[in-house]
Symmetry: C2
């Protein structure tokens, strides 16, 4: 069938104005936030009701047309780069918060709702939705679920997975699958909602998502601890957890990151520090005061030069703004920013940092490292220029070696950025050939024509 006829069929489902096929539209949706080559889709479809997702999916399946569902395109592993000649399905028209239930502590949302806007609505009702991926001001909840997005609060509050109570999604035939419930407990059937989490759009098309909410902490206290070297900062992280304190955020910035952030934001960070930890504890006021004091003592005992408590809301905000600017500040330094996501059990952070130092020297690369130290999720960030083939080859070899070190420390090659197209070639190294075969069999059974975001996670 010709493209003209196909476009008409999609227009019949979503309306003529919601099928885009101009050169500029197609190019606008040919890439995401990963350092990967773009792929231009044949056209772009924007459903305006979740009911349209079923017929759209069915039509794609009938024509064997690869479809990639796209939220905000903040993906860092190429999960939203479409198949060349395929269809991009936008969720930004599906942005209704269907229900926020204050009595039963859950919400029901459409996939295109923006994370931070949702969190703000929830906060207005006196409740709390903890997952806070770095891109939360633009990222969508559907994208967060598809990638199992993490964030700064992972250590204490968990990640997106821990908040998905249930979900309705469409299979390739356009039929609606229901899994999970509005109840805290539900064991009716396979945990398909759990399987959808981190499946990167390869197993179904999300319709409605049921998310768990919690009461907000009553108080919090943030501080910055300054260290002369990376090792001491890392040992301090382990010491805090070993003392059974679970901060809501426990972030690490190395010297390179501190300098780039300070240059960018003039936040007053100590540019001569080897590393800093940004720490926030939350909970009941009495506990917060006690824990904050304990953390200060642990930091000092471990060798922190200074521990600066945020005394006002503005001071607290300044700390987190500095942290949130780590990536944009590093990204300004060189044309290409390769943001990695190696994650290790937190006691292994010192070993991981030593490995990164060795790798940077070996491959003569500029690596700034920051990240969620409390949950062992580091973001070594390689600053380079991917037009320089020789340098980029060294980058690729360095990334390979970063994964080897992470795996040797019983870690994982992706903590929160997903596998997408960027990391599928390393999957077998961490898991096993049988794991890929098991996954492929499942995928093939559920999506025999391979139309659902092909090439992601397990490769082509």
């Amino acid at each position: 069938m010709g493209a003209e006829k196909l476009i008409k069929d999609f227009q019949a489902i979503v309306g003529a104005e919601n099928v885009m096929s101009s050169e500029s539209d197609r190019h606008a949706y040919s890439y995401d936030s990963a350092v990967l080559d773009p792929a231009v889709p044949a056209f772009v479809v924007k459903p305006v009701s979740t009911e349209q997702l079923g017929p759209v999916t069915k039509l794609c399946n009938e024509h064997g047309l690869p479809m990639t569902v796209r939220g905000a395109g903040t993906n860092l592993s190429g999960g939203t780069i479409p198949h060349p000649g395929g269809v991009v399905v936008l969720t930004n028209g599906l942005n209704k918060i269907i229900e926020i239930n204050e009595e039963d502590l859950y919400a029901v949302v459409e996939p295109g709702v923006v994370t931070a806007q949702f969190a703000a609505q929830v906060a207005q009702r006196g409740l709390f939705y903890p997952p806070d991926p770095g891109s939360q001001t633009v990222s969508t909840l559907g994208g967060n679920v598809a990638e199992n997005a993490g964030g700064l609060r992972g250590l204490k509050y968990g990640v997106t997975k821990d908040y998905v109570m249930g979900m309705d999604f469409y299979d390739v035939n356009g039929d609606l699958i229901k899994s999970g419930s509005r109840t805290v407990k539900c064991v009716t059937g396979y945990n398909l909602a759990g399987l959808m989490v981190a499946s990167e759009g390869t197993l179904g098309v999300f319709s409605n998502i049921i998310l768990k909410l919690v009461p907000p902490p009553k108080a919090s206290k943030a501080m910055m601890a300054v260290f002369s070297d990376v090792e001491t900062a890392c040992e301090t992280v382990a010491a805090i957890i070993a003392n059974h304190i679970v901060p809501c955020t426990l972030e690490f910035l190395d010297n390179a990151t501190i300098r780039y952030v300070e240059d960018f934001t003039k936040a007053g960070l100590p540019t001569d520090a080897g590393a800093i930890l940004l720490i926030e504890v939350d909970g009941h006021m009495a506990e917060v005061i006690e824990d904050a004091e304990k953390v200060v003592n642990i930091c000092k005992k471990c060798g922190a030069g200074e521990v600066k408590m945020a005394e006002t809301a503005e001071e607290r905000e300044a700390l987190w703004t500095a942290r949130r600017n780590a990536l944009p500040a590093l990204a300004r330094a060189k044309p290409t920013t390769v943001l990695e996501d190696a994650t290790v059990p937190r006691s292994q952070i010192p070993a991981m940092m030593a490995g990164l130092k060795r790798i940077a020297a070996k491959y003569k690369l500029d690596i700034g490292t920051f990240g969620h130290a409390g949950d062992g999720n580091l973001h070594p960030t390689i600053l380079c220029d991917n037009r320089n083939k020789e340098e980029f080859h060294r980058v690729e070899e360095a990334v390979d070696e970063i994964f080897d070190v992470a795996l040797s420390l019983k870690g994982t090659l992706s903590g929160e950025h997903g596998i997408g197209m960027a990391k599928s070639k390393w999957m077998e190294k961490e898991t096993s050939r049988a794991t890929l075969d098991y996954s492929l069999k499942m995928k093939k059974a559920i999506d025999p024509k391979g139309i659902l975001n092909p090439g992601k996670i397990i490769g082509e």
Copy 2:
């Protein structure tokens, strides 16, 4: 191939002493804790190392022999009733705690480790494993994961699912699949570990399980609130949550249950009360004192006749012993105990209780109801005699209607007991035909010969 040869092949894997085929052994493993007819297996295999699980599974697959992995057989939905003529694989020889990591807050266990023994070991190391299913003194962690076991602490601490960080399991070819990690965050590949949770042994054979641990609460306080009627007790539950207090346990016992428990245990429960709530708050001492006071006030404001705080460890223990005796006490009353598991959003508990009252009257049945009111997970328990065909027909009709009521209140037909063989016929009512088809396709692809615990969840 003859049974003799097959038995020899299994003996070659696990040792001659670990293949049992006597009449008494086969009958011992023909049933579990559900009210369902037994099915006698051909023989029983007891691996003594997890490495033997691969070859055992492979051998079953080669011969198309149905295999049912069995922990302690405490299953309440028939999940561990074997296929007639199939093999039962016992996990009680696989009971090693491989690692308890205090720095990184996780443990690695074999599937046959007993839940309460594991929790005790963890507690000795100063940490906490919260899931506490009713059968924890005998149930196994593998069984808990296969069923996504809940318990009393679900409201605040979640269920087994929330503690599974990763898992190795064998596919039907006897190859090892790896999913998840020892890290807080991991998005490497499909969430197969999450899919294994609640899969009731139908998608793989668990080898090692990585479980999350948390620091224990510093303090706790338990109390009993006495109500003249069920409605007031239920409204109190909703009021506690609406006030943003999340007790670690919030249990409900109706008058019938109170009377049976008191008759059994002489614990001093108020036998003339319409209902009681058993409530425990935990956390930092200051928060516990505050929350306990708030809960007392809410109970009184809602209409509780008396609120009795447990002042000593013994008084606290007496309350929870009374609660844990609810099921055994009810089970003493009549020959057959049909323990249901209907679960609703907690604000719907009053409506659910009204429904249960109506159903009990309509079908002239004796129903005692207790359960985890805080998470909406009630256990209406029908006391009957399944040899009385006419009565048992009424029981079946009542159960059907209980599910209708739960679903009409946006609840689920199983909160924590699983689907097994007991409830697969109701699956479509809660989900959809497409959900079953999706599940069947997945199952067929992963287990083409249908050897992994056939007949469970999605039926034959």
